[in-house]
């Protein structure tokens, strides 16, 4: 770090907080003020985004700007609002208490926006109003007289056009000159004012507030502001006086909570009446209402919703696919290039299958995440996201979720990673958590190869027409089972947390706006970058760990040679050794003599280009790969869990597949390919299926049956088998607690589901 960077360290900087309602255009202003000089992190202990940037004031001094989460009130109702309140009141250790506040006010929705302003005016901190969206307000026939508004509020009001940079220099100038607003008292009922006055001496005596701010602290104590009450907790005299005052007010029929809010709104009504000239005949929301008449119409609304959601789904399910494939191919090509000069061995494999596959396993999610956040940003910016929630809320409320859970859950049918990330749009913490917990139950695209492999192998041969129908129904059953499991889980969450915890659905329906391309791209990039840096690291480390599990320990050379000799009688017969031993004769004693021959022979036959010999070499390689996998930690783990999974109808080979599938579920298919020595190529699905059908237990019974396949399908529907989801849930819930719970819960449920399927099935089928 250079000397200048140290010299401009935070303590010497003025810190400015950017506060405002949701949908007030706060973030656009933040971007306009800070440009690219911004940093996104998390507030410690909560999953609330912390956005800090830098900007130069009119007097040339640098300041930090914190973009606070949107809030309606300083008496918070969600983690987001709590953080905003704590920063504004200077209660957080991780953020300096603001030396000035910019309140972003939506000019087209002035009355409601001024409620928060009425609270900000009481903080005793210099305040500047950024009157945003004046152009939209003008077009809606709401002319706000900024000078008059400034006079009414007693602070500077700077009109802005949010999407263009008009007004920014004036805002910076006003910030440099801002001073703390005059304390004021809202003309509340006399009883409330009197009760407050009685508390003031006690507050000043206890040193809880300077005399100028004592009256409003008294008011906050009376209306039940938890933060004020918490501060007064240790002032015993004050607390008793406050309780007595509240009881007295109650008896007098005055509810401080109601009285305070109504007093503020009475003041707001005066301010609005003085500073707004309404020129239009209709309501300012007339245009939005006309659009709503179509977009939330019972027929057209649902139809348009279906089209929008279908295109969202298609883009992350189908359009992202070739990009993901190309990225994957590109990365493995790079890996091959890097290791092409290296001798085969652990290092080459680490680089190729560990590091590059690990990077690929992270990067592969980028197209889906980027596309989903492109859609989400556009839907949110335009105002449609609230309508989508409005349309779907009834359906989701029945299982304890939120209207805004719809898009995260829909996305999870493509992949749970973007789905879990999309749950950020849900501002109610309980519903957000429930959505994250149930999202992986949606059958994602990684499960599809497993479904088609198993259904194709074990549920066919019913005749040309019935075949398709039966396969289709089983596939549908898998999807439905996942949805049912999600619904039951979500209801269980609600039951566990108690009914009174159900958070209210009070959702603003913002006016429709044309989304701005630059904002959308910025949001898309910001979310993708966060995934790469935060969740990506965990995913990468876990993939390298999984690679090591499947790679070590290495098969001893003698064992490899023995397997090769067993598997490749053809190539062993053709080139070098004149007399080939029958496979059965390659017993322990002969192994050591075969060692130097086998690799040389396979190399020779591969070089000769003889098709038969090449095939034989490939077969031997496959056999070695199968043996190697069985020998590795993953294979041993598969063996070790066999007693546990036997009641589900699984053998150790499937156990290995289940272990390997933690990298990604579709890896189960290629692992089966390795286990059955048919190679791991995806095009060999038919071969894998044949091998599965032919596999026999030592006593000659088939290992696989439709019942085993059904049990395995149930497992794959219900189990959480994806380190990437695990990593993203950790990142999105801010700790290990929920991902670990989810892993344990889903896999326990999967075990139970498979157990019931297999045991009931075996008793029914005899």
């Amino acid at each position: 770090m250079s000397a200048t960077a140290i010299a401009s360290a935070p303590p010497t900087l003025r810190s400015i907080a950017l506060a405002g309602n949701p949908n007030s255009g706060k973030t656009t202003l933040f971007n306009a003020l800070t440009g690219l000089r911004q940093k996104v992190a998390n507030y410690p202990g909560v999953t609330v985004e912390k956005k800090v940037g830098r900007c130069q004031l009119a007097d040339g001094s640098l300041c930090t700007i914190t973009d606070l989460p949107g809030t309606y009130s300083l008496i918070p109702q969600s983690p987001d609002e709590t953080v905003a309140m704590e920063v504004l009141r200077g209660l957080r250790d991780d953020t300096p208490s603001p030396s000035a506040i910019i309140a972003v006010v939506d000019a087209s929705n002035l009355a409601r926006s001024l409620y928060l302003v009425s609270q900000l005016l009481e903080l005793g901190v210099p305040l500047v109003i950024a009157l945003n969206m004046t152009d939209i307000a003008d077009r809606r026939g709401v002319g706000v007289d900024a000078a008059r508004l400034s006079q009414e509020l007693g602070v500077a009001v700077v009109p802005l056009v949010g999407n263009r940079r008009r007004g920014i220099p004036e805002l910076l100038r006003a910030l440099a000159d801002a001073s703390p607003p005059q304390p004021r008292s809202w003309s509340a009922a006399e009883a409330l004012v009197r009760a407050g006055d009685q508390l003031v001496p006690g507050i000043i005596a206890a040193g809880m507030a300077p005399p100028a701010l004592a009256a409003q602290l008294a008011r906050r104590l009376l209306i039940g502001d938890a933060v004020a009450q918490g501060a007064a907790l240790h002032q015993r005299e004050l607390s008793t006086a406050c309780a007595a005052a509240r009881a007295e007010l109650q008896q007098a029929g005055c509810d401080p909570l109601v009285e305070d809010i109504e007093a503020r709104y009475r003041w707001i009504d005066q301010v609005v009446a003085a500073s707004v000239r309404s020129s239009a005949a209709g309501a300012p929301t007339a245009l939005t209402e006309r659009v709503d008449a179509i977009l939330v119409h019972r027929v057209w609304g649902l139809l348009i919703f279906t089209v929008i959601m279908a295109s969202l789904f298609i883009s992350i399910f189908i359009i992202a696919k070739p990009i993901m494939d190309a990225l994957g191919d590109g990365i493995s090509w790079l890996g091959d290039r890097c290791t092409s000069g290296m001798p085969e061995g652990a290092l080459a494999s680490l680089i190729n299958d560990g590091v590059f596959k690990g990077v690929g396993g992270v990067v592969v999610f980028v197209p889906q995440i980027a596309l989903l956040f492109l859609f989400l940003a556009a839907l949110e910016d335009s105002g449609y996201l609230a309508r989508a929630a409005f349309l779907m809320d009834r359906l989701l409320a029945k299982v304890g979720l939120h209207g805004k859970s719809f898009i995260p859950l829909l996305s999870s049918f493509a992949c749970a990673i973007p789905g879990v990330m999309a749950a950020r749009t849900i501002d109610r913490p309980r519903e957000r958590l429930a959505t994250i917990l149930v999202a992986p139950f949606m059958s994602c695209s990684a499960r599809l190869p497993v479904y088609t492999l198993l259904i194709g192998a074990f549920f066919s041969g019913y005749g040309p027409y019935r075949d398709g129908i039966i396969k289709g129904l089983i596939m549908l059953g898998c999807y439905v089972l996942g949805i049912v499991a999600a619904a039951v889980t979500s209801l269980g969450c609600r039951w566990l947390l108690g009914r009174k915890e159900v958070s209210p659905f009070i959702l603003e329906m913002p006016s429709y706006k044309l989304p701005q391309v630059s904002e959308i791209l910025r949001q898309m990039w910001s979310n993708t970058r966060q995934f790469l840096t935060k969740a990506g690291t965990t995913i990468f480390c876990l993939s390298v760990l999984l690679w090591a599990l499947a790679y070590f320990p290495r098969l001893p050379v003698e064992r490899e040679a023995a397997v090769r000799a067993l598997a490749g009688p053809v190539h062993a017969a053709v080139p070098s050794p004149p007399v080939s031993a029958p496979p059965a004769a390659v017993a322990a004693g002969q192994v050591s003599s075969a060692v130097p021959d086998a690799p040389a022979a396979s190399a020779a036959s591969a070089a000769s280009g003889d098709p038969a010999a090449t095939a034989a070499t490939a077969e031997a390689d496959n056999a070695v790969a199968a043996e190697q996998l069985a020998y590795s930690w993953a294979g041993r783990l598969g063996h070790a869990i066999e007693p546990a999974i036997a009641p589900l109808g699984f053998d150790w080979k499937m156990g290995v597949g289940l272990v390997a599938a933690f990298a990604a579920r579709e890896v189960f298919v290629s692992t089966m390919g390795i286990v059955y020595s048919v190679g791991e190529g995806g095009e060999d699905k038919q071969q894998i299926q044949d091998a599965m059908l032919k596999d026999r237990t030592p006593d000659g019974r088939p290992v696989w049956s439709p019942l085993v396949a059904a049990s395995l399908l149930v497992w794959f529907v219900l189990a959480m088998q994806c380190i990437s989801t695990f990593a993203v849930v950790r990142r999105e819930t801010g700790g290990w607690r929920w991902p670990v719970f989810q892993l344990a819960y889903m896999n326990a449920l999967a075990y139970l589901g498979s157990l019931v399927t297999y045991q009931v099935g075996i008793r029914l089928l005899g």
């Binding site: 309606y72 009130s73 008496i75 109702q77 929705n109 002035l110 009355a111 409601r112 409620y115 709401v142 039940g224 909570l257 109601v258 809010i261 109504e262 709104y265 005949a281 209709g282 309501a283 300012p284 929301t285 007339a286 939005t288 209402e289 709503d292 008449a293 939330v296 119409h297 019972r298 609304g301 649902l302 609230a386 409005f390 349309l391 809320d393 009834r394 359906l395 409320a397 209207g403 009174k500 209210p504 659905f505 009070i506 959702l507 603003e508 329906m509 913002p510 006016s511």
Partner: protein, 96 residues
């Protein structure tokens, strides 16, 4: 309703009972402090006029206009808002 009733004779209802297109006045907001406070902070105070615009296609939530902006509430929350139907009956949605 030909002859308008005096306000004192119109029985109070909750916002959840109001049909789309009707205009009502808030009489009181009841329920747990946390929810009551937020409803009022969003502008649903005593004496405020509300236009109920529509119900969602599945019957819930409802969309309404209050203090010049649009808000949606689930029926459960709307039932906490006690209202009185406007004496002059249903209003035209877009006129103030």
């Amino acid at each position: 309703m030909n002859a308008p009733l005096p306000p004192s004779l119109i029985p109070p209802a909750t916002l959840a009972d109001i049909a789309a297109g009707e205009r009502v006045t808030v009489v009181a907001v009841v329920g747990p402090d946390q929810i009551r406070r937020r409803l009022m902070e969003m502008g649903l105070c005593r004496g405020v006029e509300i236009d109920v615009l529509r119900r969602a296609p599945l019957g819930d939530p409802i969309e309404l206009r209050v203090r010049g902006y649009l808000l949606s509430l689930r029926g459960v929350q709307a039932a906490l808002v006690m209202v009185q139907r406007a004496v002059r009956g249903p209003s035209q949605p877009a006129s103030v």
